[in-house]
Symmetry: C2
Subunit: 274 residues, 2 copies
């Protein structure tokens, strides 16, 4: 079946369900930044049930990089607490399939990869607090410039669980000195989206050698009067999953998030009750 | 070994670790309200690993009655993210041991009940937001009167996971009409402690027939100008565990909570990092 392709701008005014539908049908394969504004977007981790208890323990112990916002039943591709009609096999625009800790495929549908022992874990993402910063007039440099947020390996130890552990990945956003406290206060209100910064100022204090050379994403300018502010990053659980060398695990591709029906400022990430 | 007994008032000025030490040695067997002020107190659920993944999914889907604040490794009685020296077999002043859904024993030490397949789950408790209400001058009637909070079975469906499900248990506190919004705003800041109210006003809307007849705890007076306000209650997961009829599960006894070293207003409930 040939699908008519739709563009990012075609979808800007669409609901979360409509965007998922376009992704599900194969007519949209792009990134999700700026879509379904106000709805929670999620990092994705799908792994065998055998490892799920340890992975949930790992996330519980590292809530800032790994804020759990939804967990599927074993073998069940739906996520009813995040959206009425989500099918996680088809509703993300790009997936990465890893086997034994190595990237095996990047695909737009995992229906033929899905097996009955898989468990889906959805984790909060930084779009949520970035939107809140922007709404209050705090600049977000990489958004202004149309770049990816710069991400860095830090020396901050994660609390291990089972085979999961390692170091935290952080994002950096330059914030005007006078607005750092406000940025902290605003982002702290979103524990489902990495919460308050984990460090402010000198990158060496968290083991970052050079802010001009991010490990992922794009370097951004730090202007006079601005301070580098570091938040826990959703790439952390992805790295930890890879390092664990599971026989199979599946994540979203960067920027291609799961869009939920849950409001990003809801008290809980559970759709059916507040 | 004969232990010298200490009283509640002997412990009021003690640290969380000192209170746990008195409990561990057997010299204190009482309730924990008002002890280690400012530290997180926790509901306790210990269950076989076989059921732990479903129970964690259940808690994730019902975060207001079941806010997870700590999860132990399988077979490990320590909880390093909640306290440096916690041994969950000895550090709670009274436990209830259930077998096949029936109360089997109420004991002050579970060392001889502990087995290598058990997993400890610690859940937030209402002491945290009650302390915050009291600090801002919002009255908490049952505290004023030295009573237990009134608790009621509601008709609010829980989101099921595996064999875990049922209806929410709620607490009721009469709040002056003019302070209801403030009480909501304050308690919402404590997602690790049941968060904002789940209902306000008419008890019939959530299936409570008579506020004068709580299912657990003590009835309290609702004065003129006050409104009944309902919060999700930590008895919910206990009931759900009982109904699930597990071969064994262990909870704290009401009022005899696990006291953590984590500050009750910390951003996360993880001791080793913020």
């Amino acid at each position: 079946m040939v699908q008519r392709s739709v563009s990012h701008s075609d979808l800007v005014a669409c609901s979360a369900s409509e965007v998922r539908s376009a992704i599900r049908s194969g007519s949209y394969k792009g990134h999700t930044a700026g879509l379904a504004v106000g709805k929670l977007q999620c990092n994705l981790a799908i792994l065998p049930e055998k490892y799920a208890l340890d992975f949930l323990r790992f996330c519980q112990r590292n809530p800032k990089p790994c804020p759990i916002v939804g967990v599927g039943d074993s073998s069940d591709p739906t996520l009813p607490t995040l959206g009425h009609d989500i099918d996680i096999r088809t509703d993300v625009s790009k997936y990465r399939v890893f086997r034994n800790g190595t990237l095996s495929d990047e695909v737009t549908d995992i229906s033929d990869v899905w097996t009955d022992d898989l468990v889906t874990v959805a984790l909060g993402c930084s779009f949520t607090f970035e939107n809140a910063l922007l709404r209050t007039g705090i600049p977000v440099r990489h958004v202004e410039k149309g770049l990816n947020v710069p991400m860095f390996r830090s020396n901050i130890d994660l609390v291990p669980a089972g085979r999961f552990g390692g170091h935290m990945v952080v994002t950096m956003r330059p914030i005007p000195q006078a607005q750092v406290d406000q940025a902290r206060e605003i982002s702290r209100r979103f524990p489902q989206a990495h919460g308050a910064p984990i460090a402010v100022g000198d990158p060496a204090q968290i083991g970052i050698p050079d802010l001009a050379r991010p490990d992922w994403g794009d370097a951004v300018e730090i202007k006079a009067g601005e301070v580098p502010v570091y938040w826990a990053c959703g790439v952390t659980p992805q790295n930890v999953l890879l390092d664990a060398g599971l026989p199979i695990c599946i994540t979203h591709s960067p920027g291609h998030m799961l869009i939920a029906d849950v409001a990003e400022d809801a008290e809980t990430t559970i759709l059916t009750r507040n």
